[in-house]
Symmetry: C2
Subunit: 162 residues, 2 copies
């Protein structure tokens, strides 16, 4: 498995910073379950935040088993071959974040800047932030260009403007 | 949980027939793993076909544990609130299809009509079709409009032109 060159790093940074929705894989009764989530990421790609209702299946799943997979896929632009769309899958554990303190306030501001329509979720008691710190990742930059990445590789990609 | 009305059925049929890529959840060492796949579906939504290389992680995963989740999400059009994007998650088991016989030939023609760029995969020995017969599904038609569906509900939606 080759190391990412600067082009691949830049493509990964652009993918993660451009796309707004990800597909979250959780364990439900021992089987995989995939659902859509909106996400926000730290500038260094060390943290990915989700804002979820505890009434949602994926939130119930993560409360029982924190292991998750988060896939971010380039928006389909109708190109001839969809297999050339770039995508990255992060793997790690999800942890709920307390709804108080300066970290929460910073996160709330950043979330509302990106998703202003979600203001109502800050008035509902069943919503909270969850944080995913990726342990590793798999980046498919296009057909036949696949990279297995460590958290350090993600950080190196994050140094690119994207 | 309400039953789908005709509008929701139509929206589901349109979603499944319009989108080309799905996110496949498999089990990898007991944890969820999500990856992108192209898909083709039967007119009655009773079968969803994927064309996969046995070298890919998801294919190796399904050979060990057939349980999967397949999520199809409306393409992000940049709307104010991405949480209103429609998406459906199918759950079931995946089975590999033998590369011979009239069913394979019909499927090959349909696949090439939808994904002409994938012709090369029919010259490579490591690619094969996999079939998913959804056991149930969960359809989020938009914020707060969620439906739990049986295979019969999927078939009812498929009767709509979409």
């Amino acid at each position: 498995m080759a190391c990412m060159d600067a082009d691949a790093q830049q493509a990964l940074a652009r993918l993660i910073r451009t796309v707004r929705i990800a597909m979250l894989g959780t364990l439900r009764n021992g089987a995989p379950n995939v659902s859509m989530v909106a996400y926000l990421c730290a500038p260094d790609f060390a943290s990915f935040w989700l804002r979820l209702s505890r009434l949602a299946w994926h939130t119930q799943d993560m409360a029982l088993d924190a292991r998750i997979s988060l896939a971010i896929c380039e928006t389909d632009d109708g190109r001839a071959d969809p297999q050339t769309l770039a995508r990255v899958t992060l793997r790690g554990e999800a942890a709920q974040i307390p709804a108080e303190g300066p970290e929460f306030e910073r996160l709330k501001r950043a979330w509302l800047a990106r998703f202003p329509e979600s203001a109502v979720t800050f008035e509902l008691a069943d919503f909270s932030f969850w944080c995913i710190a990726p342990r590793d990742a798999r980046f498919v930059a296009g057909l036949g260009r696949t990279f297995n990445l460590s958290a350090a590789d993600l950080a190196a990609a994050a140094a690119h403007r994207g």
